[in-house]
Symmetry: D3
Subunit: 278 residues, 6 copies
């Protein structure tokens, strides 16, 4: 995660939570009252965003806060395990606490869900990727959590990937014409991927020698057929309604990539709490 | 939701998703190509953030886009129901699509989960509220969705509510001293709420005549006792580990308020898609 | 004062004063020319915003600037007393000088005026508070100065206090209906205060068991009556046309709080200058 | 006042006052409830910032709000006179009210104080100007109010005027050397003004043919002498401790310009209120 | 060019040029004084950024300004030809003039230089592309001008293209290892391009089946050899020291793409002026 | 160059180039892999913006990066000379590289072109200045480069210089009336300069005792005449179509100042590259 981007987001998250100031703590603590605290996993989880995110929230509030992350991102952690240690002025620890936890919990949630999907297909030569179905404002964080969980990333935004969908095709007249136009206009650094809903469309895509084909909501049988047609010459991505139950079946069709919106839009927060040390 | 705040957030969400431009659509559509599209519920859901959020995403991309929301926020919607209609340049509809959907899906998810909780206790005189466990950057949106689902809001930030927790109490020496200090320092416009973990602490709180007591992870029996001690003179809030299974039991203890982090940290996206009309 | 908020404001204040650069000093000083300077009170004043504001302006210009504040905020200072010492590159001291002085002078002015009001009622159990009549962009600073002068703060913004005024009441139909609606909608963390212009309205407020009543421009006799009616069960705030002459009379009516717009809208700058040391 | 700059400031002022939303009004008004209101002068005052500032606050909240300013900036207004009419959704009028009033009151205060100074010397060929002693963040507004009151502006920032002060002179070695260095470095579009504390320094300045001399805290006799020495060849500015009592004496010395920090740092708010029309 | 990005940049460009306000025009024009003006090409040039950039500068200053662009971007224009017509308040036309001209001149300069390069190889199957050697802050504008001149774009930023250079290779140990690592980590939507300085490296690249090879500063003979080795299976890009004299020779080696830093770093402004109409 | 302004610009330039992250380097380097690199002049050039700009780009990416600039800005440098040394994490050096080079190359280009102009007239008492024809967003940088090359600056923006042009004169009725209005309105700190196209206008300007006259596109003979008429009492600036061929002829007319748009709008990038040290 790019630190220049991170810092901007973290600062705005803190301002959202702080409002015009923490009126409770301001009245009860001296500025120089120090404390130590830890983040504790309250359930088994996959760590994500501890050193790079949660710790940075504390440091943004006060660069003097010291921290240590005893686990690395992506690591499976047991309940009651300490996953982050921080030390600094109580006032600042409390000010950063909620934002740091909210981020760490959400990212661990995504990493954990991703890890469960990855586990289903661990022995198969398939890559599980996220989508653009991320929480607005958190894409950089959530795509990182997917990687921490063992997944990979699809395009980050509309400018770093080409995906020709049904209405693009309709506007251009045919897959062939759409691909031709895109090939003329787009930077050579980016692959051309086309969404196909039928085997006929897969055929059209192969005829235009696209770089990748996204099989949209296809049956496994059709996907297997598409994989066969592609013969390893183009990347085949399966997409649509993927869940923990069907992911292995889909992977066994031989597709190269499975994209899963649920990784980000249906993960729930992992349970982490902050405990002050006596 | 305050429009001045909304617009700022929506603009930054769009920039996140657009990157340096939608290179696929830019190559395939003319600027003046118009289209109509609808948001369709793909499952039963509770509408939230259609007119005020999703439609505003489209309008931010292009103020000429026309829209109509056939349902109101908070309304229970059936699968396949149309929940938003939009019309404008295809290029702009596609540019706004993902951000508008990501927001609408997340907000409907929160509203729906809230509604399920509320349904459990609909006949009881209790108020279900959210917490500060919201997605960073989305608090204004998510707290709105909780209201759309029939819930209420707890404090928005650290500056518009006072919550004296265990380490505040430790720092001050006792609940009594903490409350005295806060009472001296805080604006008179804000109530004083204290977290209590034991009945003894509830008693201390009552002795200081605080405005509200948050019962932290107490057993139902203890909560019932606390409610009795309070005798209606102070607001009693139950908090900690509330879920769909135990919420009714907790409500039946007679507490005034139940705060539920899960409303925002464990809601998953409702399934909504955008469909272009021929 | 929350440092994250402070820094943003101070940076924008500096940019306003610096324009595209200090063309006079840039031509006449070397970057490494060091100097020491002091802020001197040119008249008796109440210190406010020295360590937390003025010194931060210097540090924002150059984090290497060293400073020491021999007085604490809220302290009464005599003419010719040194209230801040700074040391660093001349170029940077001169660049920060005007903004630091403008802030320190204004905040000392507010603290001093507040202290004069507070002095009038020092022996009475009343709290003097500010209003939202602050200088746009400076609320966080000015509310701090009021506290430095011995006053207290009213709500910070429209979101952390409820004040039901005449047109709210008119819109709702009656005080009772307005309070009922607000009670249903507002977070339980915030007290409900209603503006009353007549004794009849005070009665209505008491009947609805509001948390606080703002007596708007009432005569002292009426205020005394309202205080009697309240009997200590609700907070009584006096407001409107309060000045140094009448504040004691008002306080003697027994009201709990007196809000005074003049604290911020009619304070003038205290006289402070910066002197370079040989 | 430059609209591009104005809008940015006004938006941030509104966000400061609105916090996360106006929780009182949101609960009590419908969005489509319309109202008319007026700004009324509660005392005789000089109008400033009505059409260009206060009205723009309303329009920033909601571009549909209609307004009319029956008086022009700089106009002397009587008590009870209506100085601004606005019409639009009540929710939006209330949201803009405080910021609009805070600005209009402060600007009228400055314009009025300036007008009183100007009145003292109306028959003399002297120009009264402001200083950089403005409220941080409000310089563009306050310098406008000085003009509305009949005054003129000194430099706006450190980059659009050259003022060589004592420590600049000390650093350069002499006035002559300082002026030589500045003349070499500075753009030819900006005049060179030097601060003189003694007649000997005035002489030095004249010898270097500076464009303007600022007489710093001089006695009237010395100022008169300086004016004679200048003989109309350079602009003579008087500065330091100017007030309503001594401004005429200073003006009668024949100086061209008198700069008065008090115009901005010691003006208090004029009394203006907003009244809803039935 | 994405309008949301454009508007932000244009606003900041205007603020840079306006400073605290146009003091000359403010004193000499009434707000309602209208005028018509035209942009005239003072030399033959290639139009770029008239409707999308220059006109938007005027509209940003004042949305009421009307405009018409009689030429389209990319069109070759003769000396004295009118290329943009605008109409609105003089004050606003003058405020926008310099920024609009500075942009239009720079973009036409880039488009014109690109067109000259393109002209040299118009009959050859090669694509001329820009680089990241753009003016900081203007990348979106300058890459657009390259397209207007008939060129194409290379990657926009470090996140939408993969280019493995010598120090990446050194760090990984070999081209093979670098490519393997990148293939594992990078999104499947982006092609993998590797910089090769020797034919041996080209061979290595082909062995790893990269998507594109950038021939860094190679002789034409070597480039021809590389093209032969590639046999159309990977994209071959020539880079380094390309100018109007050698571009055709390079193109004739058969490379697919020639990247030219000079398109943006060595274009000079085309001569355009704004003329008011009587 | 003002550091507060610099930092803001540099941060936004970096974000433009980094996009959502450097996906190539992120996959190939460890965070703690250190490297040393140098900026090398690939052709003779005039250094500009090394310590103050290029080095600051590196430091903005990572404050721990160490740097040393063996040459000072304005110094003539030979081909192959090392002009900047940097040391730090490879990841960070690569992240800053392109922005730092783009700036250093452009600034050296401007400084070099300026130096060539200055060289032509080095023995004459004339000052060569830039114009507002700078690259939008880079004015502070480019005006600095002009100074580094031995030139001077004209006004920075519309607010720190007065230039009365033909349409201002037309609006006012005459030069005399325009000057009178400006003299009344403008701050005394800024000189009044008027654009003259004919000797008759020069005469009018002299009659009004303006501070400076800009001779717009005049013949040398006319300029010489104007210089004679001015007799040293006002600053004479020549402007319009100045190039390396005619600049000496123009200077020999005796004008005080020659303004040259080409310094910034027609400079091309100097050739500088970054080389990693083994």
């Amino acid at each position: 995660m790019e630190p220049l981007l991170l810092r901007q987001s973290i600062k705005s998250f803190l301002l959202e939570d702080i409002g015009s100031g923490d009126i409770t703590s301001a009245a009860l603590f001296h500025r120089d009252q120090m404390a130590r605290a830890v983040f504790v996993a309250k359930e088994p989880l996959v760590a994500a965003g501890l050193a790079d995110v949660a710790a940075q929230v504390f440091v943004t509030v006060n660069p003097q806060i010291k921290w240590h992350a005893p686990v690395v991102d992506g690591q499976q952690v047991m309940a009651d395990e300490i996953i982050l240690e921080i030390e600094g002025p109580v006032l600042d620890l409390l000010k950063a606490e909620r934002v740091a936890l909210n981020l760490a919990q959400r990212l661990a949630g995504i990493a954990g869900l991703t890890a469960r999907f990855v586990h289903q297909v661990a022995d198969l030569p398939v890559r599980l990727v996220d989508t653009r179905k991320t929480t607005p404002g958190l894409r950089i964080f959530e795509k990182y959590a997917v990687r921490a969980g063992g997944g990979h990333n699809h395009r980050f935004s509309l400018s770093d990937g080409i995906l020709i969908k049904d209405n693009h095709i309709a506007a251009a007249g045919s897959i062939e014409q759409a691909v031709a136009k895109i090939r003329e206009a787009a930077p050579h650094t980016i692959r051309i991927e086309v969404e196909a809903e039928t085997i006929a469309q897969v055929e059209e895509c192969l005829a235009c020698r696209v770089d990748a084909i996204l099989l949209d909501n296809m049956e496994c049988r059709a996907m297997r057929k598409a994989v066969g047609m592609a013969g390893g010459r183009v990347i085949i991505e399966a997409s649509g309604g993927v869940n923990l139950t069907n992911v292995r079946d889909i992977a066994e069709t031989g597709v190269d990539i499975i994209s899963i919106g649920a990784l980000t839009h249906s993960a729930t927060a992992a349970d982490i709490s902050m405990r002050f040390l006596a």
